[in-house]
């Protein structure tokens, strides 16, 4: 095999899917899980579940310890150091919604929020609706032909009225790294808060929030080989001071009486109700597993696989790749063929890819496309997976032409 994956056997679901003749290439939507995570969740439930940050009893102490260990592991993964706090949410979407509600008080009519044309709905709708509630201007940064935010255009659009910049690190449709360094610097010059949607970016390579210099960084555990139902919000200490409490109840309270209450600071103050304890512990186990891998080997594997995918697609007649994908995924359309028909025939052949608008309807609309097929990769995929995909693609195109 040209590009084998040394980590394939660490993910038991891959073998199961293969026995069902399924080739899983929808990793930008969610990923399969390593055995280490399955073991950790099983261990937690088998050895005594307990709520965190509440009880003095031993199971409670164990659960709280494991939960807080995961928080440290996430902080380490992001190299947060003492610069900020890790808040656990229920996903990247809920982290971004927390920001849009918790920062709402900072905005007054006429202020501007800047996003980009490639944002996933999760990093568009919370800001769009905040703008509507407060009478703000939502400014949308345009893209260049490669699917990268146009920094020259951004110079004219990020200005003194910009209160907040919220952009993706890596596009879930175009697979292109975004020029965060430049954009964040522009926003900082104007004293704007900066939010990075790291939902896709976090999965590829290691990212250092201190080097990045963003105020907030959000991602979902489930795309990073962790459990679903868990999200992470990193907030820089200075920026967290601006964040008001949003969802209320549970141990986020310091003091409560019938007519008033005071709330804890970050992180606990933003973790209302019982958090996803098993999921957070599972995410810690996943990070332990990922930390044990050779990062250069993972990067090299992902690059080789992406190159294989891109070359194979470009070699086929009529295939049009969206933008200039650099990593992780390729979205494409085929001239004269409806993406829904292609998706139908790929599904018939056991190829699990995504078709449609990829939760980025405005982007697809701007590209005058009703949808596209997206093939997205993970570290357990190998070139045989891609060969099966190419074979199915050829067969589908043959039938549709």
């Amino acid at each position: 095999m040209l590009v084998p994956s040394p980590w394939r056997a660490d993910f038991p679901a891959i073998a199961t899917l293969q026995r069902q003749d399924q080739t899983y290439l929808d990793n930008a939507a969610t990923t399969q899980k390593p055995q280490a995570l399955l073991d950790a969740i099983s261990h937690y439930y088998a050895n005594g579940a307990a709520n965190v940050h509440r009880a003095q009893h031993l199971p409670g102490a164990h659960a709280t310890q494991a939960f807080e260990d995961s928080r440290s592991k996430v902080a380490q993964w992001l190299n947060a150091g003492d610069s900020g706090q890790i808040v656990f949410t229920h996903g990247a979407t809920s982290a971004l919604n927390l920001l849009a509600y918790g920062l709402e008080h900072l905005f007054t009519t006429g202020d501007e929020i800047v996003i980009s044309a490639l944002e996933h709905h999760a990093n568009l709708l919370p800001w769009q609706q905040l703008a509507k509630r407060r009478g703000l201007e939502l400014v949308v940064l345009p893209l260049n032909a490669d699917g990268v935010i146009d920094v020259e255009a951004a110079v004219g659009l990020i200005g003194p009225r910009t209160r907040l910049l919220a952009v993706s690190q890596l596009s879930n449709v175009l697979g292109a790294w975004q020029p965060l360094e430049t954009l964040l610097a522009m926003a900082r010059t104007h004293g704007a808060l900066t939010v990075v949607d790291g939902a896709q970016g976090i999965v590829h390579g290691r990212h250092d929030v201190q080097a990045l210099g963003c105020d907030f960084y959000a991602f979902s555990s489930h795309k990073l080989y962790g459990p679903d139902g868990v999200g992470v919000l990193f907030g820089r200490n200075d920026a967290l001071h601006h964040l008001r409490h949003w969802q209320l109840g549970g141990e986020m309270v310091q003091h409560a009486d019938y007519h008033s209450a005071s709330f804890r600071p970050a992180p606990l103050g933003f973790e209302a109700g019982t958090p996803p304890i098993a999921g957070v512990i599972g995410l810690g186990a996943t990070l332990d597993y990922l930390s044990s891998l050779d990062p250069q080997a993972v990067l090299a594997h992902e690059a080789a696989l992406h190159d294989y995918l891109l070359r194979g697609l470009k070699a086929r007649n009529g295939v049009r790749v969206l933008g200039s994908p650099q990593v992780a995924l390729v979205s494409f359309v085929v001239d004269g063929i409806h993406n829904a028909d292609l998706a139908h025939l790929l599904t018939e052949q056991g190829i699990a890819v995504r078709a449609g608008h990829h939760c980025a309807m405005p982007l697809l609309k701007a590209m005058h496309l009703s949808g596209a097929i997206r093939v997205s990769l993970a570290l357990y995929n190998d070139s045989d997976d891609l060969e099966r995909f190419f074979e199915a693609l050829d067969q589908a195109l043959d039938m549709l032409r």
């Binding site: 829904a340 078709a355 009703s370 039938m399």
Partner: protein, 137 residues
Amino acid sequence: MTLPVDAVEALEAFQAVGSWEQRARMLMQWGERLPALADEDKVDANLVQGCESLVWLVGRLENGHWQFAASSDARMIRGLVALLLARVNGLSTAELQGVDLSDWFNQLGLSRQLSPSRSNGLNAVLQRMRTLSQTQN
């Protein structure tokens, strides 16, 4: 209840297929047989929401019998809709309400097209048909 003539033909054709390729090809052939939808019917008001592709559906009660017409810009869903129309066109309102459409697609070997995770739009088309048949009742 006796099956409409088109439905009998569809059932015989689809029950005879052995492979997914044959089934897919047959689906496309049925889609091509779908009569063209008049341009004045291809308007937003007749678009079925919730499909990956554009699907228009209109339905009229003529002399006590339902006549649905549809079109789509995608071929597979056009075939699925053609098979749906083969089963329901010509039925009375009471007959239409009595038809078990998931069983119909099951008999055709196409039950997976109706699974809840399928975003191809067949579920949305069925829902739209029910709404049409109730509002014009």
